[in-house]
C-alpha cells in the first residue's frame, strides 16, 4: 500500500518540509530525514548571516578571510560568482560591501541534503522555504505542485507536474520587497513573482531571483539557462511565461491566463553532471572555460 509521510522543521529561519510517497521503511525514513536536518543545520552554522559566529558573519566583520573559512565557503562563493556572471549581475551575493550568500546556500544545501532521501527508493520532495526539489521513481506519476498566487492568500496561480527536478518561486509577497536590484540598490518594482522550473534547485532558485530583478525581458537577452522555464506575474497582474511552460502545467488543474509568451533565449547550456535525483547538474563550466 502506498504511504505518504511528512516532516517539517524550521531551518535557516525558514520552514522546510519533506514528503515521502510510496514504499519505504519507517526507521530508514526517520534516519534519512534526521540526516537532512543535521546537514542543513550544519550548513546554517557556517553560512547564517544571523549568527554572529558563522563564518560568513566573521568574514563580514573582517575577522576571517574566505580562504581561512570552512572549505565549503569557497565552494559557495564560486557558485555565487558563476551566478553573477550568468545573470549579468542581476544575482549578486555582495551588496553594500557585505556578503550574503543565502540565495545560493539554500538551494545548494537543500539539494545536497536531499541526497540522503535517495536511498529510501521512494518518491520524495523537499520544500525549502517555498522552493521544491522533487524526485519521482515513476515518470508517469509526477508530483503535482501548486504555485502560490502572489496576491490572493491561500489561492493558487498554477499547478504543475514535476517528476524529477525543481520548482522555485521568488517574489515579494511574504517578506515585502526582499529582492533588491543590485544595480540600483532599491527593491525591484516591476515583477511581483517569478517561478522557475528546472533540473536543479540551485539554479532554478538563482534564476528565479535573477528574473525577479531582471524581469521577463532578461530571458531573451540571454541571461538564462536552457532547460529552465519561467512563469512571471508583474506588479500590474500580467502573466508571462516561457515557451515550454505550458507543457508543464498539470492537466485539468488551475492554470493562469498567460498574457505573453517569452521566446526561447537560445539559452546557455552547461551540463557536465547528473544530480542524484536524475537531473542534469549545471556547473557552469562554460564560464570557467570562457565559453559563452
Amino acid at each position: 500500500m502506498e504511504r505518504r509521510w511528512a516532516r517539517n522543521r524550521m531551518v535557516m529561519g525558514l520552514p522546510f518540509s519533506i514528503h515521502l510517497r510510496g514504499q519505504f521503511e519507517q526507521a530508514a525514513a526517520e534516519a534519512a530525514v534526521a540526516e537532512v536536518w543535521r546537514e542543513l543545520e550544519e550548513v546554517d552554522r557556517i553560512f547564517s548571516t544571523y549568527r554572529e559566529d558563522s563564518d560568513i558573519s566573521l568574514i563580514n566583520a573582517g575577522r576571517l578571510t574566505p580562504d581561512g573559512a570552512h572549505p565549503e565557503v569557497s565552494v559557495v562563493l564560486d557558485l555565487a560568482e558563476h551566478a553573477r556572471l550568468l545573470t549579468g549581475g542581476a544575482f549578486d551575493v555582495r551588496f553594500s560591501g557585505l556578503l550574503d550568500p543565502s540565495g545560493v546556500v539554500k538551494g545548494w544545501a537543500a539539494e545536497r541534503a536531499a541526497d540522503h532521501l535517495l536511498n529510501l527508493g521512494c518518491d520524495f520532495y523537499l520544500n525549502a522555504g517555498g522552493d521544491i526539489l522533487a524526485a519521482a521513481t515513476d515518470p508517469a506519476r509526477p508530483w503535482v505542485l501548486g504555485i502560490e498566487h502572489p496576491t490572493v492568500a491561500g489561492a493558487l496561480l498554477a499547478v504543475v507536474s514535476l517528476g524529477n527536478g525543481a520548482l522555485a518561486t521568488s517574489g515579494s509577497n511574504h517578506r515585502g520587497d526582499h529582492i533588491i536590484d543590485p544595480a540600483s540598490g532599491l527593491p525591484q518594482t516591476r515583477v511581483r513573482q517569478v517561478s522557475v522550473i528546472g533540473p536543479t534547485l540551485l539554479w532554478a532558485d538563482i534564476l528565479a531571483t535573477a528574473a525577479t530583478v531582471g524581469g521577463p525581458d532578461s530571458i531573451p537577452a540571454g541571461n538564462w539557462l536552457a532547460d529552465h522555464e519561467a512563469l512571471f506575474v508583474g506588479v500590474d497582474g500580467t502573466v508571462c511565461a516561457t515557451t515550454g511552460l505550458t507543457d508543464l502545467l498539470a492537466a485539468g488543474q488551475i492554470a493562469p491566463v498567460i498574457d505573453r509568451i517569452i521566446p526561447p533565449s537560445g539559452g546557455k547550456v552547461a551540463t557536465d553532471g547528473v544530480t542524484a535525483t536524475g537531473g542534469t547538474f549545471l556547473r557552469c563550466d562554460w564560464l570557467v572555460t570562457g565559453q559563452t
Binding site: 511528512a6 525558514l14 536536518w37 520544500n127 522533487a134 517574489g171
Partner: protein
C-alpha cells in the same frame, strides 16, 4: 486501528506545532512546548501518545505508543470530555478509513511566549473535517491575530488541502509567521501521520 490513531495524533501534533511557528519569532524556532495529544473520542480512543518535551520540531514528535489509557485525562489536555461520538468499533480490526464515526482529538497546550495554544481536530472518515482552537492567548494584539486570523485560516486550509489534488506548494519565501497560514502547512499536517 492503532496505526490510524498514530496518524491522527501525529496530524494533531503537526497542527499544534504549526501553531508554535506562528507564535515564535524568527530565531526562536523552538518554543518551549510539551506535545501531548489525546484522543477525546472515537473508535480508537484508547491510544495516547507523548511527544518529546524539549523541541517544537515535528520530527521530534515521533513517538512510542503509550499503553491504552482510557482515562486520557492526564495533566495538560484540556477539554478532553468534548466527545462528539461514542466509542464504537472493535479495536484492532479493520484498516484505515474504515470508520466514518467522527474522532475528536485534543492537543495539549503548547506554551508559547504568548501563552498556551491548544487545538482540537475532528477527523471523519479519515479526513480532517474541523480544526478549532480551544485555548489560545488573550490580551494583546498578537493574540487577537491568532484568534481571528490564523485559527480560521488553519482550519479551512487543513480541510481544503485534503481535497485539493496537489502534493505541495511553491511560494515566495515563506516566513515562520506566514507558513502557518500557508497551504503547504496544511498539506504537511495532512500527511504527517505514519
Amino acid at each position: 486501528m492503532r496505526r490510524i490513531s498514530f496518524a491522527i495524533v501525529s496530524t494533531l501534533a503537526a497542527l499544534v506545532l504549526l501553531f508554535s511557528y506562528k507564535t515564535s519569532g524568527p530565531g526562536t524556532a523552538t518554543a518551549e512546548s510539551s506535545s501531548v495529544a489525546h484522543i477525546v473520542s472515537g473508535p480508537s480512543a484508547g491510544a495516547s501518545q507523548s511527544g518529546t518535551t524539549s523541541s517544537a520540531t515535528p520530527s521530534s514528535g515521533t513517538t512510542a505508543a503509550a499503553p491504552p489509557d482510557p482515562a486520557a485525562s492526564t495533566s495538560s489536555a484540556k477539554g478532553t470530555t468534548r466527545a462528539k461520538s461514542p466509542t464504537s468499533s472493535t479495536p484492532g480490526t479493520s484498516q484505515a478509513p474504515a470508520s466514518t464515526a467522527p474522532v475528536v482529538v485534543d492537543g495539549s497546550a503548547v506554551n508559547t511566549q504568548y501563552g498556551p495554544v491548544q487545538v482540537e481536530v475532528t477527523i471523519t472518515g479519515g479526513k480532517i473535517t474541523s480544526v478549532q482552537a480551544i485555548d489560545y492567548p488573550n490580551g494583546n494584539g498578537r493574540d487577537a491575530q491568532i484568534n481571528s486570523y490564523a485559527v480560521p485560516q488553519l482550519e479551512s486550509q487543513a480541510v481544503s488541502a485534503q481535497s485539493a489534488k496537489i502534493d505541495g506548494v511553491s511560494g515566495a519565501t515563506y516566513t515562520s509567521e506566514g507558513f502557518v497560514q500557508s497551504l503547504q502547512s496544511a498539506l504537511d499536517a495532512a500527511n504527517f501521520g505514519g
